[in-house]
């Protein structure tokens, strides 16, 4: 039943070697009064029956809905090779590469992953991945507190609201202060951000493109932060980095983001991976696993987990983070994804997202009473203002099999009529045109 192979005969032999009469005797160290008071679980079933149960759940999973939604997680193409190669059992049934000689596959892949993240973000040192984008942002904030010895961060409120909640939770536990700076329309309020950095600020946290889809250059903010001894943390969207100015080029100190869009399926919320990359001088402050290159005695190149003195299994409560694992398999998928697309393909993919979204923007804003709230620059998301409440409109459109956008009312007061629309390379012109037609119909009714 439980994939337990030993036969009754073998079990008898083993018990004889141990010198006990029954398996129950092996549980004798557990006092009777501590034994389970209940264990009411249904009987097991076969694979065939199980798949019936699972299929019925998956059938009510919303997979048929055409998504014009993002909110940090995106419906992108995944080359077939990503699934096939990451499904190699030698990758997915291995564990943490504690024994490097028999884990060079995972270790070299993670080294290549770290390289990919550095090249994508324009940073100098990436770790071997974190849990997801939200927790990576929180870890970056903690890292900044430790590097600067300060206790307050400035958080642009146009950063993903879910990520902001996570940052506030992590920092709240340590009694660190989070000052949120409200956006100006759909743009980060650069003037206010610049003016709010002080000698007490550990870091300024921004996102590019921001939650509304607006694209910005935060170079001036990096400069201002550095003048005050603070760090700039930029949360970014990997696919957009095929096109956009990198955190490295802006002078950011830490770049983070969610790696889902790099070859990981949506899977109702995970698993994904978070990435974090920084300047080489902050490498010892990085949380989590890090793979480094070295040699064996014969001079052969190999890879090991390195700078482990940062980590919990050695430093315990003084570690840079409590994180123990990484999201190795998801990071591997990310690496295979960028390798499959390649240098040109990755750039082309970003251009295609941009073009599709620009087309959608122009046709959607042609609808009477609908306008785009962002400034000129967006990537593959933008915020639409509707002539009526966005929540009701989105709900109606769901009935037609379209997730038209993420209504902003629940996240930003005063934006009850607005929604963020996402257009990835997978959305066809026909789907975009149908969205326009349906939206027009719903708005007129």
């Amino acid at each position: 039943m439980g994939y337990c192979p030993n036969t009754a005969e073998e079990i008898r032999e083993m018990l004889a070697v141990i010198g006990v009469k029954s398996v129950q005797d092996l549980f004798s160290p557990i006092p009777q009064e501590l034994r389970a008071q209940s264990f009411e679980l249904p009987a097991g079933m076969s694979e065939f029956e199980l798949m019936g149960v699972m299929r019925s759940k998956a059938a009510a999973g919303g997979a048929a809905i055409i998504p014009f939604i993002g909110g940090g997680l995106y419906d992108h193409i995944i080359p077939a090779a990503v699934d096939h190669l990451s499904s190699r059992a030698e990758f997915y049934t291995a564990y943490t590469p504690y024994q490097p000689e028999c884990s060079q596959g995972t270790l070299q892949a993670l080294f290549e992953y770290q390289t990919a993240i550095c090249r994508m973000t324009g940073m100098e040192a990436s770790n071997a991945s974190l849990y997801d984008g939200g927790t990576a942002l929180a870890e970056a904030a903690l890292m900044a507190l430790k590097i600067t010895g300060r206790n307050a961060v400035l958080l642009d409120a146009s950063v993903n609201p879910l990520h902001r909640e996570i940052v506030c939770g992590y920092l709240g536990s340590l009694s660190a202060e989070v000052e949120e700076v409200a956006p100006s329309g759909c743009e980060s309020d650069l003037e206010r951000l610049l003016g709010s950095v002080t000698a007490e600020t550990a870091a300024v946290i921004v996102q590019n493109p921001n939650f509304f889809g607006s694209v910005a250059d935060f170079s001036a903010l990096a400069e201002r932060a550095h003048q005050q001894g603070a760090l700039l943390i930029v949360s970014c969207y990997p696919i957009a980095l095929g096109l956009l100015k990198t955190p490295g080029e802006m002078g950011a100190d830490i770049a983070v983001g969610d790696g889902q869009s790099l070859g990981n399926t949506l899977s109702f919320g995970g698993p994904y991976f978070g990435f974090i990359a920084t300047r080489k001088r902050f490498i010892r402050n990085l949380p989590g696993r890090l793979v480094g290159e070295t040699l064996d005695k014969a001079g052969r190149r190999g890879y090991v987990l390195t700078l482990q003195a940062r980590e919990q299994h050695i430093k315990r409560h003084k570690a840079t983070s409590n994180i123990c694992s990484n999201q190795s398999l998801c990071a591997l998928r990310g690496l295979i994804f960028v390798s499959a697309l390649g240098k040109q393909g990755f750039e082309d993919l970003a251009e295609l997202n941009f073009d599709k979204a620009q087309y959608a923007k122009s046709v959607l804003s042609g609808i009477k009473g609908v306008s785009v709230l962002n400034g000129e620059a967006t990537f593959n998301e933008f915020t639409l203002s509707l002539p009526k409440g966005a929540a009701a409109v989105v709900e109606k459109l769901l009935g037609f099999g379209m997730a038209a956008g993420v209504p902003l009312g629940g996240y930003y007061a005063g934006l009850e009529n607005a929604m963020v629309v996402t257009v990835t390379e997978k959305r066809t012109k026909a789907e975009i045109d149908r969205l326009v037609a349906l939206l027009e119909e719903v708005l007129c009714s």
Partner: protein, 478 residues
């Protein structure tokens, strides 16, 4: 083996992206664009496939090798679980947050609720959240819940107690949740020193964190007393579920007196370890702590449907959505497939296998605590050390003989520790083959220790220079 970047040829490409069916847009301003394309590899699809296939062959894994890595529960990962999880890959989690969206995702929501109920019954807790993304993340979440509980009662407690044999994540997670750490030594009988613990407990302690069975693989008979002492002082009790594989159907932490627990789905519930993740670390709590669980909660309504509801008194959000759903789907499939009886068999056979291993090896290897173990046993290479052979040398020899080594040098309270967890999915034949090699290693340690120092010799690389790696800090290629 070359890096994939070293195989790159300018102009070569692999996968085609979709053709555009819309006009080219006016480009973004130059100041907003990156100066040059990211230097990702330029390889053909076949280059890519060979590279990663050959890389994979440089790994030991459960599917290729016995992998008795103590404390990690490297059991077989049933293939049907992959099929089950693959059914949900196209479900967008944001759908659940849209007005009217819940109706469209009743299947995944019912799975989350079902898994929470299964885990609550298995652990004896009242409610479970699946939001934490890994074991350590669960620990941090659990301690944040405890902090919120004390705060709501107007108490400002400062300390969390951990035994010195605990996983490093325990003190690290409590520190992340804002606590100072009190570490209690291990008594000669192998468990947390009860007197030292009693002396450390006071009204400023928020919680005590325990692993049971402990990291020596022993069931602590004082565990109920430890809980009672904490509760008398107004502190709460935290159960690290890392070793839950030993006790399913036998002991439920909730019955014993634990208030908060995390479980590692990637250990006990058979989801693949992925080379170091993704995992999943759901947290269960007793009734009094339910208000402080993270937001949102998946709630079953009276009509039997499921909704996603804000949990305003809770600690907020610890991850974006409902946790690592793909891992949760596998665990739900595993529990559903095995059923109650199957899970009991899992624990019984895991404990049988570990005791068999212990009985067969204790003649040659020092067993610091010679008593019935649970799902894993901890030896010391102290006898071999007399010939200059360390636990690491034995580990490397095992690699040459085709076995992934046990965990070595953990727990920290055993010198030259060798921690073996066979799990229930290994046959007597596999264990016998491993035992023969372990006994052989002990013989070689006596006869020719130099041979062990040279191991491994069959792997693509020999022992690697870790000091050089730490000094060079070469963490990406130029």
């Amino acid at each position: 083996m070359q890096l994939i970047y070293e195989k790159s040829v300018p102009g070569r490409s692999g996968v085609r992206i979709p053709l555009s069916d819309v006009p080219r847009a006016t480009p973004l301003a130059g100041s907003l664009r990156r100066k040059e394309a990211a230097r990702f590899p330029e390889v053909s699809e076949l280059d890519l496939v060979r590279h990663f296939t050959n890389l994979s062959r440089r790994n030991f894994s459960v599917d290729t090798n016995f992998y008795p890595l103590g404390s990690c529960t490297m059991k077989y990962n049933a293939k049907v679980m992959e099929n089950a999880a693959a059914l949900f890959t196209d479900c967008h989690p944001v759908l659940a947050l849209l007005p009217g969206g819940e109706e469209l995702v009743q299947g995944p929501l019912s799975l989350i609720h079902g898994l929470e109920q299964q885990l609550a019954e298995i652990t004896g807790m009242d409610e479970v959240t699946t939001q934490p993304l890994a074991g350590a993340h669960g620990e941090m979440t659990g301690i944040m819940v405890i902090a919120a509980f004390h705060k709501a009662r107007g108490e400002n407690r400062k300390y969390v107690i951990v035994p010195d044999s605990s996983h490093g994540t325990n003190p690290a997670s409590a520190a992340m949740a804002g606590y100072q750490i009190l570490t209690i030594p291990t008594a000669p009988y192998g468990d947390m020193d009860l007197d030292a613990y009693r002396a450390a407990m006071n009204g400023e302690v928020a919680a005590v964190m325990m692993t049971c069975p402990n990291t020596l693989g022993l069931f602590n008979p004082h565990v109920a007393e430890i809980c009672a002492i904490a509760h008398q002082a107004g502190a709460l009790t935290y159960y690290d579920g890392a070793n839950l594989n030993a006790i399913m159907g036998k002991v439920r932490p909730g019955d014993v007196g634990f208030d908060v627990i995390h479980v590692n789905l990637h250990k006990t519930f058979g989801t693949p370890h992925g080379g170091g993740g993704p995992g999943s670390g759901p947290v269960g709590v007793k009734a009094g702590l339910i208000p402080y669980l993270p937001t949102p909660r998946v709630v079953k309504k009276e009509d039997g449907s499921f909704s996603v509801e804000a949990h305003p008194e809770g600690i907020g959000r610890v991850s974006d959505f409902f946790g690592n759903f793909g891992i949760m789907a596998r665990a739900f499939a595993y529990i559903t497939l095995l059923g109650g009886e199957g899970l009991i068999e899992v624990s019984e056979q895991a404990v049988l296998n570990a005791n068999y291993m212990m009985a067969r090896l204790k003649g040659e290897y020092e067993l610091p605590f010679d008593t019935t173990c649970m799902h894993e046993c901890v030896f010391s290479a102290s006898r071999q050390l007399k010939n200059g052979v360390h636990a690491i040398d034995i580990a490397k020899y095992l690699i040459d003989r085709g076995f992934h080594p046990p965990t070595v040098y953990f727990p920290l309270n055993v010198k030259e520790a060798i921690m073996i967890e066979p799990t229930e999915t290994e046959s007597k034949q596999t264990m016998d083959a491993f035992i023969e090699v372990m006994l052989e290693a002990a013989q070689v340690a006596r006869d020719n220790p130099a041979l062990l120092h040279e191991a491994p010799v069959t792997t693509p690389v020999g022992r690697l220079d870790e000091t050089r790696a730490a000094r060079a800090q070469q963490v990406c290629c130029e």
